[in-house]
Structures are given as structure tokens and as C-alpha cells.
Symmetry: C4
Subunit: 283 residues, 4 copies
């Protein structure tokens, strides 16, 4: 009934491990017109670039898992040393706006400028320009997709329309899923109405997602944030899960860029393509 996707190396499915290394940038964007000198959430988010990112890099090295880091330009400018260390460890650097701006809040020209500016900085650190983008909060617009293509990007990883890569015009979409995003489980900042979910519960649920991906031949894209998933108990549980995946050997593990480029080489006849127009249909 459903054809099976031909994953690389004839593996059962795929797991992309990715981090949105956003630190305080979403807060700075959100409060960009504030004059307040509140610093509680700033400090809370700085746990990421100060401590969490290093916990994560240590853990990734221990389990030998390559990851993709989506990094706002602002973070690369203010925490360049951490970003250099990410690149030096062999992980992929990709775009996440300049200061975590959602596509719908910018004109095309503004969006293009944030991407170009961040691309220059990340490319300078990594030695090659980034080819992928993830939008803040998984928001996306039709115009935003066009801007991404217009600046020469090869893939986007922000949408949820499938559980395997798919083509949207000239871009490959490597889909994500809220269920495998850490923020909706872990994020708690002052005034929120529900507490964080314990790490063991989240990781157990992700383990079930990963197991089901191997069974059904699909992709899981983990989306995480160093200021949340870099905390000790969480990074410990995450390392345990990745070690299991590494040991089991059933899933392809790699950079999102590699999966996106691979997808372009897959014969279209071998799996369902998505031909629908993406925008709001008119009935």
C-alpha cells in the first residue's frame, strides 16, 4: 500500500540529530522593543552557550554521532568559540536566521539579508557556506520558501508534511515533527502554565519513535536546544538513547545536508512524490 523509501546503505530508516543553537536570540527578538532590564530569562538561556553546548559536544563525541547545528548569526558572532568547536568536531552548520526571526515577520529583502549575513559568518567558520535552513518555531510561508531557494540553499528542515524527505520546488524538505522537538517538553520560562516533562519520559517516548521508524521505514529528526537538552540529566538520557541507536545499527545516521543531497539522487519512480500545491487551496 505504501512503497518503502530506499534509505542509504539499504538501512531500515533514518535518524537526523539536530540542534537549534539559539541561546538568548529568541528572547532578544521577542523583546526587541522592550526597555526592561529583566535578566532572568537571558541568564536561563545563556546556559546553552556557556554550559549546555559543551555537554552536548562531549556526549556526541562519546557516542560518535554526527549532528546538524542550526545557528543564528547572532550566536555565531557572540559565541564564536563554541561554534568553532562545533565545526571542528565535524558537525554540520546550517542557517537559523540572524536573530531567530520567523519568516512571516520579515519582508523578502529582510529575510534575504539575515540569511546572507549569517551565511557569511557560518561559512567563514566552517570553511564552506551552509546549504540548509531551519525556521524558528517551525513556522514557514510560501514566500519564505522562495527566498530560501533564491539565496541558493539546497534544503529546508522545518515542516511536517511527511516522514521522509520530499521535494518542494527546488528545495528538499527534510521533515521534522513536534513530537521529537525538545522545546515543547522541556521549555519552562517564567509564567508558563505547565512544568517540564522529565527527561526519562521524553527520551523513552523518542525511543519509541525511533523504533517505529525502523519498523515502518521512516525518518526521525530530533530537534533540540542546548539551553534545554544540554542540562545534565537530559544530556545523560539523550546520550543513552543515541548509544542504543548507534549500537543497533538499523538506522542511517548523518548530517541533514547529506540526506537532502542523497534524496536528489533517488529515482522518483521508487517512492511517492508530493505533487500538491502547498498553499491554501481554493475550493
Amino acid at each position: 500500500m505504501i512503497d518503502r523509501y530506499p534509505w542509504p546503505d539499504e538501512l531500515d530508516g533514518a535518524l537526523c540529530v539536530s540542534f537549534d543553537f539559539d541561546g538568548e536570540s529568541p528572547y532578544l527578538w521577542r523583546t526587541r522593543r522592550d526597555e526592561s532590564d529583566e535578566i532572568a530569562e537571558l541568564e536561563q538561556r545563556r546556559y546553552g552557550p556557556r554550559r549546555g553546548i559543551y555537554n552536548i559536544l562531549t556526549m556526541l563525541a562519546e557516542v560518535s554521532v554526527p549532528a546538524t547545528f542550526f545557528i543564528p548569526g547572532w550566536i555565531a558572532a557572540h559565541y564564536r568559540e563554541a561554534v568553532v568547536e562545533i565545526a571542528a568536531a565535524g558537525h554540520e552548520l546550517a542557517l537559523h536566521g540572524w536573530c531567530h526571526e520567523p519568516p512571516g515577520a520579515l519582508s523578502d529583502q529582510e529575510m534575504r539579508e539575515t540569511l546572507t549575513r549569517a551565511s557569511g559568518l557560518l561559512g567563514d567558520i566552517a570553511g564552506a557556506a551552509p546549504i540548509g535552513y531551519r525556521s524558528p518555531s517551525f513556522q514557514m510561508t510560501l514566500r519564505g520558501l522562495e527566498v530560501l531557494a533564491s539565496v541558493g540553499l539546497r534544503y529546508d528542515s522545518s515542516m511536517m508534511g511527511s516522514d521522509r524527505p520530499y521535494l518542494i520546488g527546488d528545495l528538499v524538505e527534510v521533515p521534522v515533527d513536534w513530537t521529537t522537538d525538545d522545546a515543547i517538553f522541556y521549555r519552562y520560562t517564567a509564567g508558563d502554565v505547565r512544568p517540564p516533562v522529565p527527561a526519562a519520559t521524553v527520551i523513552e517516548s523518542w525511543a519509541a519513535e525511533i523504533k517505529a521508524a525502523a519498523r515502518l521505514g521512516t525518518l526521525v529528526t530530533l530537534t533540540m536546544h542546548p539551553w534545554m537538552s544540554g542540562r545534565p540529566a537530559r544530556v545523560t538520557e539523550l546520550g543513552r538513547l543515541l548509544q542504543e541507536v548507534r549500537n543497533s545499527g538499523h538506522l542511517w545516521l548523518g548530517h541533514i545536508s547529506d540526506l537532502a543531497e542523497y534524496h536528489r539522487s533517488v529515482p522518483k519512480a521508487s517512492f511517492t512524490t508530493i505533487a500538491d500545491s502547498l498553499g491554501r487551496p481554493h475550493d
Copy 2:
């Protein structure tokens, strides 16, 4: 103290497995006056008609469980191939508005038109006109019930006033329950305040509901959505539960239409009837 309902085949209780195959239609209805070109939630919901529905059909075939699919006309028009496949597999097709409109938002005439239009399309695919209806979000009005009867429907499955079928005027109500609805556990779209509940937790809780139904002689109606319950980990857990129910043999399993028609044949004397007026009482 409570008389026992005479379930078909002298079974202990009943389980109706149902899906609201709504895809992007609730979003289109909700944003029908928007001009935005945001596509994140559209893509998220399209997982249902693109992928989730096929995962579900495969699973239902594996466990040999007949289900009822409530399908907005808009979905049948835009994803006819999927709906043809549902009908071909022997599942029941039933009404869910044209584009997921809640009864309270329509005039009687408008509601009648959405139902007639959707009925024509679903009847064309199934070979026979649908005889049942489920309202979006389990909302219902007194006028809405009258419209349902006026267009010749035989049953509604949207309300929670009992745990076994009951008569409301000329309609049979096959009741539902929020506790066995997947959306309140699984749905997460941008901006929501709580994360999805892990599939294992939801299915374990449904297993307890089903076990209690056999003990107390009641009905469980599972209400699910392909863009949520069709995701790999969830459909895997759901299949496991349905296999258990199938194996245990304690519950009647079948189309809601069959249970509704059966109820008309049960002697009234053998179980409590509901004679109350349904509307707001005046004290």
C-alpha cells in the same frame, strides 16, 4: 442497580474504532478569512492524507478490524484516491461536514447543504449513501440534531451522555468520550501550551478503558485522526492494542452504523432509556 445492555452476540461490551479523516479541513475552516501564506500547520495536517491514512489502513488490515471513517466532503474531493481505498477495504464512510463546520456556526439551510453535498460525494465512492454523522470537536446543538434527522440520517456519534447507544428522537446516538479521543492527547500545533502525551501512555489508558468496558458492559468509541494517530509510533501502539482486543474476543467490534441499527432492534424494556428533554431546562 444498573441493567446490563444486551450487546450483539451476547458479548461483554463493544468497541467502535473510528477516524475523523479531517486533514487540513479544520484549519481551512478556522482561517477561512485569513490572507496569510503560512503553511506550517497545513503541511503538518497533510501528513494525514499523504501518509497517516495509509499507515492506518495497513494496520487495520493486519488486525482485521472494521472501522468507521467520518470524512469531510472537502477531503473526499481533494484526496479521493485515499477515500476510495478506505471504502475498498470494507470500512464505513460517514459524514463530518463539508469542510469541518461546527453545527452552531451554520444556519439550518447551510448545514443541510454541507451534508447533502458531502453525502453525494461519499455515497458515490462507497456505493451507498452514508447514514451517520459526527460533529467537528464533538459540538452539537438542538437545531443541529433536527437537521441531521431531516436529511434522513440514522445516527449521530458526537455526544457523551451515556456509555451505550441511546435514542434522541429519531436518531440513535452512539456516544463518544473525550478520554478516548486522540486529539486532546496528541495534537500539538504551534503555540499550544502542552506537549503531546507519549503514545504508550495514551494506549495504556485506552486499554484500561476497554478492559473496564468489558467489566461493566459498556461501549468504548475510539475517535482518532490520521494526521495524529497515523504517525509511526502511534499507529504501532494502536495496532498492538487492537490486536489484543481482537484476540481477547470479549467485545463486539464493528461499524458504528451496524451498532446503531442493532440498537433499534433491542427491546426497550431490557435497558434504561433516556426520556429527558435534552435542551437547557427551565427551573
Copy 3:
């Protein structure tokens, strides 16, 4: 450091099992100025008087546990047969307003009238006037407490200022706790933002509360609602818990009225009393 409360029969602690049999009355109060003909929540709540109350009475008989039912007059008027059955089974009937009105929404005179009217009806069914009150949603005002005393009531069971009975003026307060209230775990009506907690999780947590009460010598007052806790899986789990308590024999189990009257007989010297003024202090 803390003196131990002298529970009846030299038991370790106490458990009061209580039900707020409110059915559709809170909805009628909340929407008393609506003209809508929506019936979804009305039907959902009617599960209580139609089905849940009988599941609960059956279960209580099985485990031989006496309970206290707080019943709005409106419910006794519209579902008299169910209330007769409650009284006939030996459970206590107590006041819960006429139509679930919170004290702060009424003038003293209005509150007095709702209580008097409901007391007449419940007294007629039980053969003796009720002597206790529970406020809707555990809200309370200083004036409300005075009204309760002025109509001759002996106890209130709505507040959380201790974990054993305490005196407030002429009233005994038999305290409750949100943690052992079913509604905040189980209630889900359309539009709510979080799903119900599984019955097994709730009951396991209540079991821990009860165990700790025996250890620390305190009181647990379970507050439940037939339209929620009367559902099959929940009433099954609740029955299991009450059977365990009954078997263990460590806790006093009985009507709240009996505990309140007992408290008046306890020598003050044997436990801490609360002498603080209750209202907002002026510093």
C-alpha cells in the same frame, strides 16, 4: 514537634470519601444568561446522573465504604430517584448550593435562600436535615462562613488550611486538598488545554496520599464527581483503592458529619488549634 491528632478508635489517620453530585448544575449556573442551544457539555455532564452515580453506588456497596454526597438542590429536584437511592444506601447527604452558586457571587440573603431551599429538599429525602456544606470549586468568603453558621450548619468541607479537622468560629472545617480532587485531573470539556490524566495515574497518586496520611496521622478527603469518576475505568480503579484501604484497616472511614461532630469532643489540649484570624491581615 507536631502533636498527633487523636483519631477515632485510635486509628492512624482518616479517609473521607465524598462526591459532589453536581451533574449539569455548574454549567447551568455558568451559562445562566446564555441563549445558546449547545448541548454537548450538558450531555457530557448528564453522564453523572444517568450512569456514573449508579456505577459509584454499586462500587461503594461492593467495598462497604460510607460516603458523603454534596448535592445541589437542583439535582435533587431533577434526579430525585438517584438521590433517594444514595440515601437509602446509608450515605450522607449534604449541601452544595441550589445550582452550584459560589458564595462570592451571592448576597448573604441569596446564599441563605439557596441553602434553605436545598436543605428542605435533601432533608425530605434523607429524613433529617443536612448539617454540612461544600462550596463549589472550593471557593469561600468570610461572609459565606457566617451565612453557613447562621443557618445552623455544623461543618464546612471546602478549605485547605490543615490536614485534620479545625474549628472556624462555630463551624468545624473538615479540610480538602486539590491533590485529592478528581476534577483537576479528569475534567476535560471542549476547549480545555490539557487532556485528562489516566485513571491509574490518579489513583496511584491518591494511594500515596492515603499511605502518607497513615504515616503522618492526617486526614485525606477525596472529592469526586459522578460524571467524571463514575466512568467505567475510573470507578474500577477507585474501587480497587478503596478495597485496599478497607482491607488495611489503618484509617478511620466514615461520613464527614461524624468526623466533624467527633472533633467537637476532642480535648483542645491534645492538639494544635488555629487561633489566627482568617481574613486578609493588615500589616
Copy 4:
């Protein structure tokens, strides 16, 4: 990649057990312009000074764990006997405003006055002036930090920028974390949208945090409230956890003041320092 912090006594990590003994003070602050005579939440919060604090002191004595109590002056004035007992048991008293005022709501002069007034009262009870502060709800401003230093305090324990002590100007910050705060899990007051998390779940999650702290060489600061964590089931579970930590012997356990003063003695070269400016950066 990350240097290890040199914890006292060459231990693996550290655990600071702390309580914000706020009772009804946050409610009084929040409703300071109300004229209502509602008393439900007042009574709910009074469980802390009436009962919870004594349950906690008993438990801490049983497990021999020294703790730090942040106490609004208003509480010390109204429940002096309880505060005397805390000090007599050898626990640290520290500042928490006069009536739970957040720094951002006060002028510098007002904040200074609340601190000075509360310091006088707590110092009188403890025999020495308090040297530390925790802000209500973990809120903080740049100006607030300056006020804390200006009144001679030595440490703050309100922010989340690391998982070990760090210097902010002349203050030592002993960081906290929402994940190890009881309020976001346990607090439920009328109208909240999600129920309290069971004690066993919270304590199990804290046990994982503590275990990870030993593994990664970090600090856990538990932040708790007597009106919540002093309830029987919760204090029982907490005692079990602290007994385990005490038995395992891996973590330094002590007053926050001692850890803060110790930090000043650690050679800077041996661990990462935080040199960033704390306020909103200008890009």
C-alpha cells in the same frame, strides 16, 4: 572540553536544599489592592506555616540535612515561632523580600527598605544578619542585583546561567533551575489549567537530576515551598530522596551561604568564569 569544578571535600558535585517559606505572602502582594473577602487561597497557603513547615523540619532532622530557608519578613513577623524553630535546628535564614515583592516592581529605595527591614528581623532571630537573597519567582533585574550588593549581601540564588556557582560583580550567584523547583509541578490554585504532578514523579525526576550532577560534576539547588512540599505524601517522598543522597555520600550537602563563601576561595584558573555583561546586548 569542560573543566571540572573543584567541589569542597573533593566530592563529585553538590546539592543545596532550600525552601522559600512564603506562605500567604505572595497572595497578599498579588491582591494588595483587592477588597475581596475570599479566603480559599489564603487558607490553602497557610497550610505551610501551620503544618507543612513542621513536617519539613521533622523530615530534615530525620535525614540530617542542613537547609537554607528564604523567608519574607512578613512571615517572620506573623509566624515567628516557626522561624525560631527553623533557626534553632541549625538551618540558614536568608532574604526573600518583605512580602514577596519582585525586584522589578520596586524602586531601588523601596527594595532596599524591604531588605533592610527583613534583615533586621531575621538577624534578630538567627543571631546574625542574613547574607543571601532569593527573588520571588526567580525574577531579577540589573538594578536589583546592584541593590543586593549595596546592602552588603554576599550571594544571590535566583538565576539559571550555570550549574555551578559564578560571580556577578561582587555577588556570588548560586544558581537554581526551574526543573528542581517544586512550585511549577505542585502548585494548583483555583482556576489553574493543569493538575499537580504526583510526588513520586517529581521526586523520581529530581533523583535523575541529582544523579546526573554527580556524573557531570554540577550543582543541584532544590527550591521548595512548605505549603506545597510540606504536604504528607510529598514530604515523605522528599525525605526518601534526601536519605538516599545522604547515604550515597557523593555530593556536598550544605547551606547556600557556605557554598557561596567557598566559591570566593576557589582559584579562578581552575574553572571557567563568566565575563559576559549580563544585560541586553546591543548588536
